[in-house]
C-alpha cells in the first residue's frame, strides 16, 4: 500500500501562487474576450435597432446603455480594489496587491467614460453639460482618487511597500463609494434617483432593461478580461524586475 504524502494545495493557496494563477487563468482570456465581443454586438443591436425611444427623453435614452454600465463599473472596480486592499493588509495575499494595481487604471477609465457620457446625456436632457450636484461631484472625486492611486503606485520603487500605502489610501477612499450611491437620496440633485437597482425593483419597462442588462454584462465581462490580462502583465513585470536585478548583480560581480 502506498501513501501519497504530497500536501494538497487548497484552491486559495493555488490562487496565491503567481505561476499557478497564470496557468489557471491564462486559458480563460480568449473565451472571455469572445463572449464579451458577442455581448457587445448583441447589446449594440438592441440599443440601436430593437429598443424604443423613451416617452420623455426620446432617443437620448440610448446613451443610458453606455452610461449606466460605465458608472456601475466605476464603483464596482473601486469596491474590488477595496477588497484587494483588505487582502493585502489583513491576509497578506500575494496577488491582492497585483489585483489592486491592475484595476486602478481600468477603474479610472470607466469613471472618465461615465462622466463623459453623463455630460453628453445631461446637455439635451437638463440643458447643461455639468452641474456641481452630489452625484456628479462625488464621481469626479472618485476619478481623482483613482488618479491619486495610480500616481502612488508609480511613486515607489519597492512595490511591496507601495502596496501597504496604496491599500490604506484605497480603504480611506472607499468612503466615497456609498456617498456616490446614496447622493441622489441624501441631497437634492439634478441627477435622477436610482431606477434600476432599487429595493422595489426597476422602474423601467423590459424593452429598455433588456439592452441595458446586455450592455451591463458586456462591460462587466470586458473589465474581468482586461483585469486578468493586466494582472498577468503585472506578475510578469515583477518577474522581469527580479531577473533584471539578478542580471545586474551578475554583471557587477
Amino acid at each position: 500500500m502506498s501513501m501519497d504524502d504530497t500536501p494538497k494545495m487548497s484552491w486559495w493557496n493555488r490562487l496565491a501562487h503567481p505561476g499557478q494563477f497564470l496557468s489557471w487563468t491564462g486559458p480563460l482570456v480568449w473565451p472571455l474576450a469572445a463572449v464579451t465581443a458577442a455581448l457587445f454586438a448583441l447589446g449594440l443591436w438592441f440599443a440601436f435597432f430593437n429598443s424604443p425611444a423613451d416617452y420623455q427623453m426620446g432617443d437620448t435614452v440610448r446613451i443610458m446603455y453606455v452610461h449606466v454600465p460605465t458608472a456601475w463599473l466605476s464603483q464596482f472596480v473601486y469596491a474590488a480594489m477595496a477588497v484587494s486592499a483588505l487582502g493585502t493588509l489583513v491576509w497578506r495575499h500575494p496577488l491582492a496587491d497585483v489585483s489592486m494595481k491592475a484595476a486602478a487604471p481600468l477603474g479610472a477609465a470607466f469613471t472618465a467614460m461615465a462622466l463623459f457620457t453623463g455630460s453628453m446625456w445631461g446637455r439635451p436632457t437638463w440643458g447643461t453639460f455639468w452641474e456641481w450636484d452630489g452625484r456628479m461631484t462625488s464621481t469626479l472625486i472618485l476619478l481623482f482618487i483613482y488618479l491619486g492611486i495610480i500616481a502612488l503606485w508609480r511613486a515607489f520603487d519597492d512595490q511591496l511597500r507601495a502596496a501597504r500605502v496604496v491599500a490604506v489610501f484605497t480603504l480611506v477612499g472607499a468612503v466615497n463609494v456609498p456617498i456616490i450611491k446614496f447622493s441622489v437620496d441624501w441631497w437634492s440633485t439634478l441627477h435622477q434617483p436610482a431606477s434600476v437597482f432599487r429595493a422595489d425593483g426597476p422602474t423601467m419597462p423590459g424593452s429598455l432593461l433588456t439592452p441595458l442588462f446586455i450592455m451591463f454584462f458586456a462591460f462587466t465581462l470586458l473589465f474581468v478580461t482586461l483585469q486578468l490580462v493586466a494582472m498577468h502583465t503585472e506578475i510578469r513585470r515583477r518577474r522581469l524586475v527580479t531577473l533584471e536585478r539578478r542580471a545586474a548583480r551578475g554583471g557587477a560581480a
Binding site: 505561476g19 432617443d59 446613451i63 467614460m113 453628453m120 498577468h232 531577473l243 533584471e244
Partner: protein, 48 residues
Amino acid sequence: MIALGEHAEFIIAAYAGVFIGLGVLIGWTVIANRRVRARLAALGDTRG
C-alpha cells in the same frame, strides 16, 4: 440605422467617446502585456 432624432450628435458623441476609450484601454493593456513578455523572452525566461 435608425434615425436618432434631434439630439443625434450627443448620442453619437457618447458612443464614439466610449468606444474610442475602450479601444485605447484594450490596446494599452494588450501592448503592455506583449512588451513585458518580449522582454522576459529576451532575458531567457521560458515560463511563459
